[in-house]
Symmetry: C2
């Protein structure tokens, strides 16, 4: 038994101007929601911070949640997608290159809940752990 | 350079009635926010699902976000706390035993952003990975 799967996605080398474009980030997250067939409860919460102008988006989903944070000063965007029911994989790397100009995308998949220990974290790049 | 630290906390063996008590879960999350000196932007979003009555809470923070999901049917609650600035540790295990009657609490700490690969996931219980 698990309570679902969480994807932790970190995109580097993105265009700073795209990371501070609230409407563009909204379109990207709306695409994630649409293409994965997710269901938003209420309205997504979006906020733009003062210069350098990073944005945060939070979606309360019937499937759990989607969160997005951008750091224009670092050229980085991070995403959390936590789904308590099975979802097909999404082409994070390809889509984030397309929308954000990302040079490198790291996807980590983590199983949540009681079975978490039996189900290790997986990353699309490489694995490192220490005790 | 990182974009912060994320704590993934999974609590098992919790009292089901506590996990469907929206006000109680709100008090717990408000305590996390208060004791860690976090700053909420706008209002937290809370939602209670139909029976078995799990709840979700999402907090947009100047420090990034806090998310909470409960699964009364599994006796499980999960928390994500993503902080883009350094925070002292919080006594997750002790507090979740106290508030939720948790029998077991797993805390995983994950570094986000460009340095993610250099900084492995840490868990308070044990480590497992696979390629």
């Amino acid at each position: 038994v698990t309570t679902g799967t969480e994807w932790l996605v970190d995109a580097e080398g993105c265009r700073p101007e795209t990371l501070r474009d609230l409407d563009g980030m909204r379109r990207l997250c709306d695409r994630i929601v649409r293409e994965l067939g997710l269901h938003v409860v209420g309205e997504a919460a979006w906020h733009q911070f003062p210069w350098p102008g990073g944005v945060t988006g939070l979606f309360l989903l019937t499937e759990s949640h989607l969160a997005c944070h951008t750091y224009p000063e670092l050229g980085t965007a991070t995403f959390n997608l936590y789904c308590c029911r099975s979802r097909p994989p999404w082409a994070w790397e390809e889509r984030l290159r397309e929308h954000l100009g990302a040079a490198r995308v790291t996807v980590r998949r983590i199983v949540r809940g009681p079975a978490a220990e039996q189900a290790p974290a997986l990353t699309s790049r490489r694995e490192e752990t220490q005790p």
